[in-house]
């Protein structure tokens, strides 16, 4: 049973964008092929099947379904049948489409080239930009991600074993958000440790100029 998508908090939009932009078109294609393995279907049936089996986390518009089917037909992976008496147009897999669907299960997804991570990019720039409080940047991000995580946790609790598909997908989002917070914590600790080290090194240098001078000259000799 699928929860009404209107009851889902807005954070799913965030996740949806993330998923669909980051190679999402690819997943829709593969998902439709996987559904068609179970037999011929028409467009609305495929959309309903997609949403039900993924817990309605990523609403799919019917235009997207037909665009994808058109491309699959062009690439020789699906076959479009004549409209039946109810004017429904059914699609079925070709042998190539079936092979592609099977190939999907045995091919890891997204593990080869790391996708660009906007949060990492921002924090990396913050850490190296003069006058930017990187701890504040990290905390702003952490608070927002935690808030999303709270929403997801609540919604998942409310679903309470009534919708396995949604819970599975919600868990995926929850673990991703957790990973982001862990990374932010880790980065904050690392940066503050580095700042401590720099401070101590600065103090040592100020306290013992003779040593640092000799080190410098030694470095100069080495180079």
């Amino acid at each position: 049973m699928v929860l009404d998508t209107a009851t889902r908090p807005h954070h799913t939009q965030y996740a949806e964008t993330e998923y669909l932009v980051g190679g999402g078109a690819m997943s829709v294609k593969n998902a439709l092929l996987a559904l068609l393995v179970e037999g011929e279907q028409y467009g609305y049936e495929l959309r309903a099947g997609f949403e039900e089996r993924t817990g309605g986390a990523w609403p799919l518009n019917i235009g997207q379904v037909y665009t994808t089917l058109d491309r699959l037909e062009r690439d020789g992976m699906v076959e479009r049948h004549e409209a039946d008496a109810d004017r429904q147009v059914f699609y079925s897999l070709t042998d190539a489409g079936r092979a592609e669907a099977e190939d999907w299960w045995v091919t890891p997804t997204g593990a080869t080239v790391p996708s660009r991570d906007d949060v990492a990019l921002k924090v990396a720039l913050a850490a190296t930009s003069p006058g930017v409080d990187v701890r504040a940047v990290i905390q702003t991000q952490r608070k927002a991600t935690m808030s999303m995580l709270q929403d997801l946790t609540r919604t998942k609790r409310a679903s309470a074993d009534r919708d396995d598909a949604w819970e599975l997908v919600a868990d995926a989002m929850i673990f991703r958000a957790e990973a982001e917070v862990r990374w932010l914590d880790h980065t904050e600790s690392r940066l503050s440790r580095r700042a401590d080290r720099d401070r101590k090194a600065g103090a040592t240098q100020a306290a013992a100029p003779a040593v640092s001078t000799s080190e410098t000259s030694l470095d100069e000799v080495r180079s």
């Binding site: 929860l3 009404d4 209107a6 009851t7 908090p9 701890r135 905390q139 952490r142 608070k143 991600t145 935690m146 808030s147 995580l149 709270q150 929403d151 997801l152 946790t153 609540r154 919604t155 609790r157 409310a158 679903s159 929850i174 673990f175 958000a177 957790e178 917070v181 862990r182 914590d185 904050e188 600790s189």
Partner: protein, 247 residues
């Protein structure tokens, strides 16, 4: 002394400008540098921070296991700093429940005896304490397991026993320090579920954790760094998030 635990206008836990300093002079370490925090009945608050941020010290002080250097800690309106040793021990036994990462159950006692222990120590009659302990076990989903020994139980079950012990009798303040640390993620979720339900039924729960996924079960998240609360955020109540029949 009357303890106003049931007055809804009095926070179950209230910290005011709490400072905890170890050592003196130049070598002094400020574990807590002025922390104020209220936790109300029915509320679950997560305290997040890196190791060394002061989050565990905060919990230890809130539970009266450690005295603050300055500032006040009140449990149900009673200021812990004003109590003598005996009074403090009594309020800890009767009002505050602790849940730790490593369960802290006594292996030579049965599950029921472990849960009843705080009441036995408080001088409650054996019949009364057994009956309260059985009720607490039922609340955490361990009805009928009272005669088992801790070693006969799984990690998740042992932690639920620890929670039963933390809520037995009239205790309405549950302080949990990384309670899921030793458990796998699915079992950890069942422990969080039990803590969450305690809060939903009126307990005040403070959860110290570095685990974002577990902190997300709380109503409010308090971020602590260098012994100070640097930020805090409440989330919308579920009824605001979910319209209609989803809940």
């Amino acid at each position: 002394m009357t303890v106003q635990m049931t007055d809804p206008n009095v926070p179950v836990l209230s910290l005011r400008d709490v400072v905890k300093t170890y050592g003196e002079g130049d070598s002094a370490v400020h574990a807590l540098a002025g922390v104020s925090l209220d936790v109300n009945a029915g509320e679950m608050v997560a305290v997040m921070g890196t190791s060394g941020s002061g989050k565990s010290t905060l919990l230890t002080i809130a539970g009266g296991l450690l005295a603050a250097t300055s500032g006040t800690v009140s449990v149900g309106g009673v200021e812990l700093g004003r109590l003598r040793v005996k009074g403090l021990a009594r309020i800890r036994r009767e009002r505050i429940g602790f849940v730790f990462q490593d369960f802290n159950l006594l292996p030579s006692l049965t599950v029921l005896e472990n849960v009843a222990l705080p009441l036995d120590l408080a001088g409650q009659s054996a019949a009364g304490s057994r009956s309260d302990a059985r009720r607490a076990l039922a609340v955490v989903g361990l009805r009928g397991r009272g005669a088992s020994y801790p070693d006969d139980l799984s990690g998740g079950q042992r932690q639920r026993v620890a929670i039963a012990r933390a809520i037995v009798g009239r205790r309405r303040l549950v302080l949990a320090d990384e309670p899921t640390g030793a458990l796998d993620s699915v079992t950890g979720d069942t422990v969080l579920q039990v803590l969450r339900e305690r809060a939903d039924e009126g307990a005040a729960v403070v959860l110290v954790t570095h685990d974002a996924r577990h902190a997300a079960w709380a109503d409010r998240i308090v971020y602590i760094a260098d012994g100070r609360i640097i930020d805090e955020a409440s989330s919308a109540r579920p009824e605001q998030l979910l319209s209609g029949g989803a809940r």
